[in-house]
Symmetry: C2
Subunit: 193 residues, 2 copies
Amino acid sequence: MVHADASNFVIGVTKDQAYEQVLMQAEGLFDGQRNWVCNLSNAASLLWHAYKSLPSPSNQVNWAGFYTLNPLSPSPQLILGPFQGKVACQTIAFSRGVCGVAAATQTTQLVRDVDAFPGHIACDGDSRSEIVVPIVVSQEGTGEKKLVAIIDIDCAVLDGFDEVDRVYLEKLGGLIGRSCDWWLWSSGDRLDC
Amino acid sequence: MVHADASNFVIGVTKDQAYEQVLMQAEGLFDGQRNWVCNLSNAASLLWHAYKSLPSPSNQVNWAGFYTLNPLSPSPQLILGPFQGKVACQTIAFSRGVCGVAAATQTTQLVRDVDAFPGHIACDGDSRSEIVVPIVVSQEGTGEKKLVAIIDIDCAVLDGFDEVDRVYLEKLGGLIGRSCDWWLWSSGDRLDC
């Protein structure tokens, strides 16, 4: 199978079925590949094409992707990762907007109306609803859960997401968290090629 | 201006004008931001939306994104970076396919018919033509040019690209090369968060 076929979803499937396919394809793509940039790039593509195969409101998703922890920032900050959709804000402080709150609290934010969310950051004025799911990894030894990234999905209509999205995106977040080596860059690690 | 507006291209512009907007927007987005994952993610979005605003064949582009050097590979290898489009091959050996040849030779590959290109890798059976532009950086001191990434654009029709694409994508490759810190991960740099 050529890789692009993983993005082909049958029209008429339910949201549960589409997410099940995303999880199955993601698991296959991550098998033997733990590079987080590579895996998040393919995961964003899977999600985008899954939503586009579904009826409204899911097919009104207008941004699907990731922000990761920015280890170069002196204060806790997210930085833009791989995504599908229009150009997005580069950095987001923890606690700022929907993404920042999800990162700071390590809890999923399911926002039916972004304009009603205090401090919402309007990267795209078309976005009306949003779901953000934290990706956390347990530290060896202590078991303490540390945030490494978030899944961020925007929708151009109100009430774009429900509990089905929450359940499956949290499953995907768990899979991504344990399937990648979270080697982020540091100032001392400039590529010496 | 919200960030998403950078992806909005006026219908009816020429290809030159669309690429000029890509370059201008990219320069603005990279100003003060040298994180390569962040910048490549936004650059893929700019390119994708530019192509979709143009007449055929440009609007038939079905993949736009990046592969980077994989420092973890013992042999020279590209690994998937941020992109827009369907799921893609994770790794490509130097010299293999259009991307591999561009990487190994550090020269743009403008391929009017991918099926006629020896060793073409069919990540997506829909792709008919392709352009791949190397992104190189000069090493301090020696000035030796080292490959850090490639721009890869696929099109679903034959003859999707011409000299205009080559000229502007090489300009974009130069801008990206000097605008990012190419801090790639290494096995000794696991995030200790």
